[in-house]
Amino acid sequence: MKTAALYVALVVVPLLGVVGVLQLGGLVEPPPSVGGAWRVTEGALCAIPGRAFSVEQSGAFLHLRLPGRVGLPARLAGDHFEAEGGATGDVSPGCGSDAVRVEARVGEDVAEQITGRMGIPGCGGCPMRPFVAVRDTTAAAPGGLAAQPAP
């Protein structure tokens, strides 16, 4: 009898708890999915010569990988994110820096499109300009990072 009671308390109740948590999980909203390779379809982007970039995602934490630059850390706030960095030291004449700035908005859930502005602030040759990027399902992401496999 005692063993049965212990079994219920230590095994059955926790397993029922797992089931309950799985049900409860339906109420939790995760960040939209932006991880993977992206191809820029609109906008003349001096900051991305190859017109392709990738995003490494861990929840709300993002790392933008632009060709030839180190990753730009960013954080998703709802469906927006901003990132700045990735300076290479190769500063063009008339520019204070070559650090890239990205201000973007993503679609809901598994985002298929990113829209926003991108450029090198304070650099007349590469001002902030609008861009549109779509998910690239055919090519490996630049910078040696493969897109996360979709489950």
């Binding site: 397993l15 948590v21 799985l22 999980g25 995760p30 999915s33 489950p151």
Partner: protein, 690 residues
């Protein structure tokens, strides 16, 4: 670089780093596998890629990692087969309701904690491409898994395999592994179905049919192979090929079904008939190459995908710390609570909780699958890898704190026989030395009341979970104690075999001598690998730590002892040597000659001669070189030289000595080198002890 050349270079680099780091971890008391896991991370972007990106890009270019990963996967298939092979159903049977409760609770409670943790992590470290149910179940499995193989080795090293605690812990770990793989198979089936060619019902029904087929169809096939093995008396290449074919076909089937090749390998391992010799031969044939070659490749492949740098900033490190804390508390608390409720003492229950936290490489295997499936992000993968290494790393020191070795030895000591008048501990390393040591022990003891403890200390890596289910009484005869037991048979001497695992033989021999209140430790000498020193290595440790007299025996001749030479200068160790020689004279009737070496200018030693009783022949030899004088006299037909340690005879038991003991090298007779614990200075020359 050419593909195969690069692959070979990669394997060489991985093996070198894995061995070096593994050995370094072993030196600090950690399982070698923890070091090998760390080695894999060091080779990845977390260290090599960060510190030397050029070298990293040359050694491990992204395009080459696929082949390395495939080879590692083949190794994992073999490894999971061995894990299944080691899971003997006898571990689970007959442990009573308490064990069933504990083993179930050690899975259920961490799973609940894992699900709650997933609820917190999902909006922070996952995204909308991952379904919550898959994510939560995966985190639950990751927190509930226990590395059965690592655990079995830790239990073996701590001599807990045959204790009630060890048995319950192994049962729980086995149940946890089976449960974790069952849940993981469901997750794989559900998650993969989205992208796979089969509908979910085909995957689930196919998996169920596979498990049933493994035990109803493949097991009889394996039984035939086992009978073939038994009839031949050895594992032939044909039988091994048959087993491997079944294993690979099963792995291919489960991979095709969408529940991963490793699941098939694990199930086939559990389906192999549990005939001791068959399992042992299979394990011996496959384990070395798997553990030495393939596992480091897997650790490297996993390490190359582990980027600790992704865990950046206080918030991310906070999540990593939270994951490790929840994993430890859930597994420790759940296991300890259930074990206490199941009837174990608080100390044993706490030890079980600590042991069940060993996640090790099983966790790494599961995490890699989760990363492949996209269930967890690279950053969460890195956090969980940190948790896997941390929980495995803390196991050994925490266990020592909760349940010290001293207490384990006391709790497992069932030697309740009355004290014997004279007790000798005889550690045996080489089986062939057993009979000689037995003869020496009998000769050195008083006429009545001798008890001998024959001691065999096994290396940790020679033990496995299988030893937990083997009957105790069958083991000593199979160890190097066998010839010693044979020599003692029919003599009436009270000889008790002791057989346990030791990482520090010198200290453990000293501990056994203390526990058994030994009067003498008699240890054989054989040429060590890296030194010619008689009193170096383990012998030096024994001499340093033992609180009893110690005699080191070097057998040179096989003649009966009729003439015994005792070099004597009057020191306490010389007195002990003379005392033992006197016993030899009484028990064997041998003649004793006392050798006293004096400086040439000090006369003929007439005063010395008067200091000894008349039944001992005294030789006084004038010489400036006591060792040369001793060797010269020993050549005059003596069978045994009994000598106390001292610088006079070139026998200095320094722990760091590398010099050759000249006397041991040149003396033609067998030698007994004596060191007494009760070292009291005595005048020179002293009277012969009564």
């Amino acid at each position: 670089m050419h593909g195969i050349l690069l692959l070979l270079i990669q394997i060489v680099v991985v093996l070198i780093v894995a061995r070096l780091v593994g050995v370094a971890f072993r030196r600090i008391g950690q399982p070698q596998v923890v070091g090998e896991m760390v080695a894999g991370i060091l080779l990845g972007p977390s260290l090599l890629g960060w510190a030397a990106p050029g070298v990293s890009a040359f050694l491990f270019p992204p395009a080459s990692l696929g082949l390395l990963g495939d080879i590692a996967l083949i190794g994992l298939v073999l490894f999971m087969f061995l894990v299944g092979l080691e899971l003997d159903p006898r571990l689970l049977r007959g442990r009573g309701q308490a064990a069933a409760l504990v083993s179930s609770a050690t899975i259920a409670i961490p799973m609940l904690c894992g699900a709650l943790l997933a609820l917190f992590l999902y909006p922070r470290l996952s995204d909308a491409s991952v379904d919550f149910v898959g994510f939560a179940l995966f985190v639950s499995v990751a927190l509930s898994v226990t590395a059965f193989p690592v655990l079995a080795r830790i239990l073996a090293e701590r001599n807990l395999l045959k204790t009630n605690l060890g048995a319950v812990t192994l049962a729980c770990a086995a149940a946890a592994d089976v449960g974790a793989w069952a849940v993981l198979a469901v997750i794989l089936a559900v998650v993969r179905t989205d992208a796979a060619a089969h509908p979910l019902w085909v995957t689930l029904a196919g998996t169920a049919a596979f498990v049933a087929g493994a035990f109803l169809v493949l097991r009889p096939l394996l039984q035939r192979l086992e009978r073939l093995h038994a009839s031949r008396g050895t594992l032939t290449q044909d039988v091994l090929a048959g087993v491997l074919l079944i294993l690979l076909a099963a792995s291919a089937t489960t991979e095709w079904l969408g529940v991963h090749a490793l699941f098939g390998a694990f199930v086939i391992g559990t389906a192999v008939p549990r005939e001791r010799e068959f399992v042992r031969d299979l394990t011996e044939r496959l384990e070395d190459v798997t553990v030495v070659l393939f596992l480091p490749l897997f650790f490297a492949a996993a390490g190359l995908r582990t980027s600790i740098g992704l865990v950046s900033g206080a918030e991310m490190w906070g999540y990593a710390a939270l994951i490790s804390a929840v994993a430890i508390v859930a597994k420790f608390g759940g296991s300890a609570l259930a074990a206490r409720a199941g009837g174990l003492s608080w100390r044993e229950a706490s030890a079980l909780g600590v042991l069940m936290n060993t996640r090790g490489l099983m966790e790494l295997v599961i995490l890699t699958i989760g990363l492949d499936l996209g269930l967890i992000s690279p950053a969460l993968f890195a956090m969980l890898v940190i948790m896997a290494i941390a929980t495995t790393f803390i196991t050994t020191p925490l266990l020592e704190w909760v349940y010290p070795t001293r207490l384990i030895l006391e709790d497992t000591d069932v030697d309740d026989a009355p004290d014997a008048p004279f007790t000798v501990v005889v550690p045996v390393s080489l089986p062939s030395s057993g009979p000689a040591l037995f003869r020496a022990a009998r000769a050195l003891a008083p006429p009545a009341g001798l008890r001998i403890y024959g001691l065999h200390l096994a290396r940790p890596e020679t033990q496995s979970a299988l030893d937990a289910v083997e009957p105790v009484e069958t083991l000593p005869a199979e160890t190097p104690l066998g010839p010693l037991l044979d020599a003692a048979a029919g003599t009436g001497v009270d000889l008790r075999p002791l057989d346990f695992v030791s990482r520090d033989p010198g200290r453990d021999i000293a501990d056994v001598a203390r526990q058994k209140a030994a009067d003498l430790v008699l240890i054989g000498w054989h040429k060590p690998v890296v030194s010619e020193s008689v009193l170096g290595g383990t012998v030096a440790d024994v001499l340093r730590h033992t609180r009893a007299d110690v005699a080191v025996y070097l057998e040179r001749t096989f003649r009966p002892w009729t003439r015994v030479l005792v070099p004597y200068r009057g020191g306490p160790h010389d007195q002990a040597a003379l005392r033992l020689a006197s016993r030899i004279a009484r028990t064997t009737g041998a003649e004793i000659t006392l050798l006293h070496v004096v400086p040439p200018a000090s006369g003929d030693g007439a005063e010395t001669r008067e200091a000894f009783p008349s039944n001992v022949e005294l030789r006084v030899v004038p010489s400036d070189d006591p060792v040369e004088a001793l060797v010269a006299v020993a050549r005059e037909g003596f069978d045994l030289v009994v000598v106390g340690v001292s610088e006079t005879w070139g026998l200095d038991p320094s722990p760091f000595t590398v010099r050759h003991e000249r006397i041991a090298r040149e003396c033609p007779a067998s030698m007994l080198i004596v060191r007494t614990h009760a070292a009291v200075p005595a005048p020179r020359p002293a009277r012969v002890p009564a």
